[in-house]
């Protein structure tokens, strides 16, 4: 039974993730006053890459990178329940809590670093360095916000946190929400924090040496991971969801906010991004934490 549940979760995350990615490209196009690609364009891209031949070889560790990323994304997804009520789409959430998820969030990037490091491309190494530097700065405000939320609601269980909100945490603790949101924009790889994969600076960074099926794997991975992260944010700050419609609505609103930021802002340099993340959202998070515990 649980296997079917997990598979269904995966399918839903895959489909919705790619749908969101297609919408992302279309909406960004509209921001730039273009017609934009069809909604299923990202899906077509990934399938096409599955049909391509591999021509490069950098040893097995190189190929393990995308695989570790993929498993990181899938594990994250499995530990996040989709709904706060009911038995379906619960995944493995009764075996793990928010701490596990916070740990799994960084598994993907680290695995990718191992893989890309062995491929000889200097741009890959540069992208990874940028990514890990940013990751370090990005996690601080996010962790502060999440741990504050956990201690405020007295539980580390995602479903409990979600269902215990009478007013949404986003409105009850707006400062925490803003801090988490800023680093969430970075986690989604959006401007102004999209330093690791900047196409004109490091030639798509970590992905620069991957081709064909591994690139397709990376694309699917990011689609699934995106959805998992959106669901996590919805549970932590927007009161979770009790049905598909609610879940899609909430995640989509969150997603629109994120990509609107991405479409509007230019890219930071790496030191600027780290500086900004360590100063602004961290301060906001700390102030939010103090205010929340005070009252």
């Amino acid at each position: 039974m649980i296997v079917v549940d997990l598979l269904l979760m995966l399918v839903v995350a895959y489909a919705v993730g790619f749908l969101y990615y297609g919408l992302y490209r279309n909406i960004t196009a509209r921001f730039q006053r273009r017609f934009g690609p069809p909604v299923w364009q990202s899906f077509i891209d990934s399938i096409k890459f599955f049909f391509k031949e591999e021509s490069t070889s950098h040893g097995w560790m190189f190929y393990l990178g995308p695989v570790i990323m993929m498993s990181g994304a899938i594990m994250t997804l499995f530990f996040i329940p989709f709904f706060t009520v009911g038995d379906t789409f619960q995944g493995l959430s009764q075996y793990g809590n928010a701490f596990v998820i916070l740990y799994l969030l960084v598994l993907g990037p680290l695995g990718n670093a191992l893989g890309v490091g062995t491929g000889g491309s200097p741009f890959g190494a540069m992208g990874i360095t940028r990514g890990l530097t940013r990751l370090f700065a990005m996690e601080l405000p996010f962790y502060i916000a999440v741990i504050a939320i956990m201690s405020l609601s007295g539980s580390a269980d995602i479903a409990t946190i979600a269902s215990e909100q009478t007013t949404f945490n986003a409105f009850a603790y707006p400062l925490l929400f803003i801090a988490a949101m800023i680093s969430f924009i970075g986690m989604m790889g959006q401007s102004p924090f999209d330093v690791p994969g900047a196409p004109v600076e490091v030639y798509s960074g970590p992905a620069s040496e991957f081709s064909g099926k591994f690139l397709a794997l990376l694309m699917s991975q990011s689609a699934i991971f995106t959805f998992a992260k959106l669901v996590l944010m919805v549970h932590l700050f927007l009161g979770g969801a009790s049905g598909f419609l609610e879940l899609l609505l909430k995640t989509f609103i969150l997603f629109i906010v994120v990509i609107a930021f991405g479409a509007i802002y230019g890219r930071f340099k790496t030191p600027q991004a780290v500086d900004f993340l360590l100063k602004v959202p961290t301060t906001i998070a700390v102030v939010g934490l103090i205010l929340a515990t005070w009252s």
């Binding site: 017609f35 690609p37 081709s211």
Partner: protein, 206 residues
């Protein structure tokens, strides 16, 4: 209302795309369909033609609505655009880049310079016929072709891909001796450019 003309154009372009019927079986058809609807173009420009590509890919002509999109590295790209004259030095890099791309890969050649030398027909340092040195799927002539004609060229290429006719990468593999011979005739025995850090640091630069 103001978008009507635009949507009409889109329909005409896509109608052209969808009109192919000559496929062997449904798997082939699907594969080719995915390939033609998603084309990653290597961001690489030679000659004057590189200046016509930014408008093709950005807001004014927006090639992304046809699934055509830029890729940063040759590993991810499907199409390389040779956009104008190739001097010997450039040709080395083009060949190297082309060989780094993974199959299936296609070549789009822009401008009369790639067709027959164009206005550089009597230059000692540029090649005259690109298809002697690497296979070419589609030529777009003009000096320089406007973004409209580049889009037309892309549509024609997509059509060929959809019908399974664009197979230049196979041609390159089968006739490698021929291409290599021609390459060596103009570039000397060592066709590939040297690509080490010392090329930049210790060789006096450039």
């Amino acid at each position: 209302m103001e978008h009507n003309g635009f949507i009409q154009e889109q329909k005409t372009l896509e109608g052209d795309l969808n009109s192919d019927t000559s496929h062997k079986n449904s798997v082939d058809f699907l594969m080719n369909w995915f390939r033609k609807r998603s084309i990653f173009v290597l961001a690489y420009g030679t000659g004057c033609g590189a200046i016509e590509m930014p408008p093709t890919f950005t807001s004014r002509y927006d090639a992304e609505r046809l699934g055509i999109r830029g890729a940063a590295t040759p590993r991810q790209a499907d199409v390389i655009i040779v956009s104008g004259y190739c001097s010997y030095k450039t040709l080395r890099r083009i060949i190297r880049t082309y060989e780094q791309m993974s199959n299936p890969k296609y070549v789009l050649a822009l401008g009369s310079c790639t067709v027959n030398g164009g206005m550089y027909w009597d230059s000692y340092n540029t090649i005259k016929k690109l298809e002697d040195y690497m296979p070419v799927d589609m030529y777009v002539n003009g000096c320089m072709p406007r973004p409209e004609s580049i889009l037309e060229g892309f549509i024609a290429l997509q059509k060929e891909i959809g019908e399974g006719k664009a197979s230049s990468w196979q041609k390159y593999e089968e006739n490698y001796e021929f291409y290599r011979k021609n390459q060596e005739a103009v570039l000397g025995k060592k066709v590939e450019p040297s690509y080490d850090a010392d090329w930049y640091l210790y060789d006096g630069g450039l």
